[in-house]
Symmetry: D2
Subunit: 349 residues, 4 copies
């Protein structure tokens, strides 16, 4: 940390700050400038946090100089990580496609969507059983029934399943059916939930809060990691801005930025960011091109009848182009498309 | 709802949409323009939501024309509501001051802060026992021990207590000690928590999500109301914008806007919005002047030693001015300052 | 400035940076921490800007520790300034109300609006002759004809006139008719215009860019000041955020923040920020309460017929309440309402 | 346009609105719902704008249903346009790379940068002579001297030149040296400048305002088009959001969205959006993959010595990878890389 003393700070003010830092076990280096004095702090930053340095007499500003997360940072772990989910890798050597319906509605719809996903190059199945909805009057998902459908479809089609968990109380239930737990954008700072999934022993897909900075996203990952679980995949899904032409603004730059700060894989959700079917394929191409470790895409056998977010799902007629993208673009980046596991392999995991 | 057909929509497209709306039990009125046709929908809007009208052939845009919340709207309940918390009203006739420490640290600190609060005109005590913190390494609050301290201080000082609950699993515990449950800004769309506090039988202070629109805020209130609890107070606490000079940007306009859309009381948190002690008093004045039904303010007997957010707490030397504001400004708006209850009254509630 | 070296920086990297700073005439103090080294820089910050320090080997981050503006800062001029416009002061001792039509339409409408303004406590008249409009098909103002109308109304009613200038080429023309030049929100970073008004010898009302930080706003003021003109009044008028219930979000905190950073007066525009007539009076109260040095309000004799922004103008029936606010609130802050000058005085200025 | 009447609107209110619309030459269709009445308007939308419909008694909301721009819309011109600049096309069949120094510093630096640009696949040269800078104390560009350098380098290297113009008064001067005029992000709503470049008879590169919606961007293009100039290329360069890890947030979705709304070509600036050299190549790949019609990239022979934005310029060692991207990615999208013209051809244009 660096303390910038105010122009009017006295010698006594400076000495008081230095004393305070030392009393907390730190070291302080003073640089006297013409107009201002700067004090560099060395030691345990968490310790300094409780000193309320900004409130001290003569202090103008306090600036942090190191990242506030540890376990998920590349300073802690230089090599980018590869996470395995039910036999499927997500990491720097591959592009992993996750696809499926936004919401599980029926066994038939989920199976059809899973088969679409597989045909388009997906190695994992997505699908929502618990849906956090802005309106209490909107469809909230099938709950446990939906989880069982996902589980059965996984056994039939062979794709490991990622699904959202919205409440610490249902983490065990979701773990009984899913291969990976998703924490959604509205829950990115639901710390009780983060701690619960951190203790659950399953890989976690952590969506970025639509209003969260990259640093806050990595801090949320740190909450999970701190419980002993480093099998975390980050997912950029658009942030809230003043622009209203798209539901959210896909922050494509967040992919290389987060990959540079953290060793965790980073994937992109081109469906929820734009909220428009016509943007899904262009944004999928952009995501792979920018270096994402995967994408997660909504597909639906009959989007016009989807119970949730039907406006953004890819339909059967989009699959050829999606397949062409996943078949050709990863190589451009020196990567391979992650192959789908065989049904038997997944069933016996 | 209004459907705007695309310029290239055919007569068949228009008829298909009309048929679809009627099959869902609604009525559709067609206005043919020179370039575009508009279809007005009448009926149950929730029903129409599942039609994915935006995906239908020939549909250009779909616009909602009524508010998506019901129980909390002024269309449902014309008169602005007055909510009672442990004998203290919050509503259109009064200005209610809530004050106390950001975080409960010790019995002595909490008691001293409560006495400060009372001297400055507060009728309720705030204080955090469960603290949602961005970093897992930051102080997370005293938990149950903190609740007990609050409860004891309430009995001694006589101010009803509002405190945050962060997890559905601890709602009962918090209810055993508090007079009002606070849902914090990061949990405004934690729907499991909203439903739990909605069922708890205690008044709720619902802070606006720092990234939430006013409409989403009212939808979150609707989640609580839908469980049968209409004792909800809304709290504007600043939104996230591009400006970095303040921690968040206090959206002062949100007060009259929310009061016009909803019958629920709206108060302001001038401490967390700016995150700077020097802004608390000016923003308190602005909040009362704009018509807020109350304010909630951090005070601390020794801000420099606060374990959390000490940079924004008012100290002893600020109380005279805070007292002058609360003593003189409410009358300007034709309101009365809500008096603090007597200790005995609160103890026997 | 402070340079934070990357964790992997070598001793050679550190020495190279120190050498570079010294070669530019500065001084560098090195603080070696456990993980990182910090280098404090002393000297001419503008000089350091050209060193591209961020690109140097081993440099992790570069942080500025002093404000980038000089003439408008309170470090340069401790006392808050009072600016005089045609005999009317704007400054810390008073609350000055500026009112008038958004747009000059006819002599009758402008005169009626000026008389309304005067009745409601205004000491200055606003009115637009050159209107920057988002659409090229919208009414762009009467231009020179409008300026003449303003000038004549000023002579009759006695209120000094502020009006917008949108092009460096018309600064002289506007100066011939106005007492104060307004730079609008869309032109806050039109540097050619800032320089032109800086050289014009008239007081300037500088609206904050709707997307500009407070620091950028003060930098824009610095452009004007650098041309020798320190008669600048800052005007907060709302910033662009994700909230759509109001046209912009009034950043009420910007008033005390800017007053603390700069000696220039700061006023508020409650009409353009919200864009809604029902918000103008509550926001006017909030502006005065937060400590603004004045407000600038749209009034119109017949808002429903206004050629521009009629939805936000106050009408005759709002004036009683506006008058009550201006008559009672300034005293609360220890200020006086600025009285309107007599017609003769203004005419002979 | 659609008018949504308030729930409390009377029959008389509805009739008054219908009458008003008809008196302005429009037609009004009334749809009566259970709670609200909707009135669809047909006719000249500009005419309706002056009616201040939102202020009328009983009116709840007014919604626009058609786009407010005409000449630049795809409703006006279905085919996507190809714009030619000094013999170089920018349009749907190609990917055009524009590269060069952020700022012209010396003839040697500009020539070296132009040769770098050509080697990396560029068909046009960028370079700033007039620089809009946030600080009045920062380097403002070489002005006319810089234009002459650009002109000479163009003749030697053969790449047509695009350079920024910041003031209507210098449009003629810039036209004398440049092949294309750039309007920068801070001037996107400088309407006097838009009109001046619209009348200048040269192609225009219109950068998106960092705080402007896509609709406002297209309205700014409409200002240029309205003066008879449809040779406009749109350039997405990042928008201002709450995220601080990058200078701005590249809105990659804006490319397909703008291409769907407007027939004008859309290119991307990966250098200014991120403001970080390490992001330029990933964002260049993303831009081409999403379907941009080109990119504009900063290159500098010695970034550490650049007078402006050196932190984001590509250096010699980045060119191999940039060349590989431009050589392989356009084909993936069914496009060709636009070849650089021969020096002689450019000189004799």
């Amino acid at each position: 940390m660096v303390i910038v003393m105010a122009p009017e700070a006295t010698q006594g003010d400076i000495e008081a700050v230095v004393e305070l830092v030392r009393s907390a076990g730190g070291e302080a280096f003073v640089s006297r400038g013409v107009h201002r004095t700067i004090i560099g702090l060395v030691g345990d930053i968490d310790q300094f946090g409780a000193l309320n340095l900004r409130s001290r007499k003569g202090v103008g500003d306090v600036m942090r100089v190191s990242v506030p997360y540890k376990l998920v940072s590349r300073e802690h772990h230089r090599q980018r990580s590869e996470i395995w989910v039910g036999g499927v890798p997500i990491g720097p050597a591959t592009v992993t496609v996750i696809a499926g319906p936004c919401t599980v509605e029926t066994p038939e719809q989920t199976l059809a969507a899973a088969q679409m996903a597989r045909r388009a190059g997906a190695a994992m199945l997505r699908g929502g059983a618990f849906k956090p909805r802005t309106s209490p009057y909107a469809f909230q998902g099938l709950g446990e029934v939906g989880l069982k459908i996902l589980s059965e479809v996984r056994d039939e089609v062979g794709l490991p399943v990622v699904t959202e968990v919205v409440d610490p109380a249902s983490v065990d239930l979701v773990c009984a059916h899913a291969d990976m737990l998703q924490v959604g954008t509205r829950n990115m700072q639901n710390f009780a939930l983060l701690q619960a999934v951190g203790s659950a022993g399953k890989p976690v897909l952590l969506k970025r809060g639509m209003n969260s900075t990259i640093e806050e996203w990595l801090m949320a990952a740190e909450y999970i990691a701190q419980r002993g679980n480093l099998d975390i995949v980050l997912c950029e899904r658009g942030i809230r801005t003043f622009e209203t032409a798209t539901r959210n603004t896909l922050d494509i730059s967040a992919v290389p930025v987060a990959q540079r700060l953290s060793h965790l894989p980073v994937i992109v959700d081109p469906s929820h960011s734009g909220g428009r079917r016509d943007l899904v394929l262009p944004l999928t191409r952009a995501a792979i091109a920018v270096g994402a470790d995967g994408v997660i895409v909504d597909v639906h056998p009959d989007p016009a009848k989807a119970l949730c977010d039907g406006d953004q799902a890819l339909a059967e007629e989009d699959l050829t182009e999606l397949g062409a993208i996943t078949a050709t673009m990863p190589q451009l980046l020196g990567r391979a498309l992650t192959p789908a596991p065989q049904p038997a392999a997944a069933a016996s995991r």
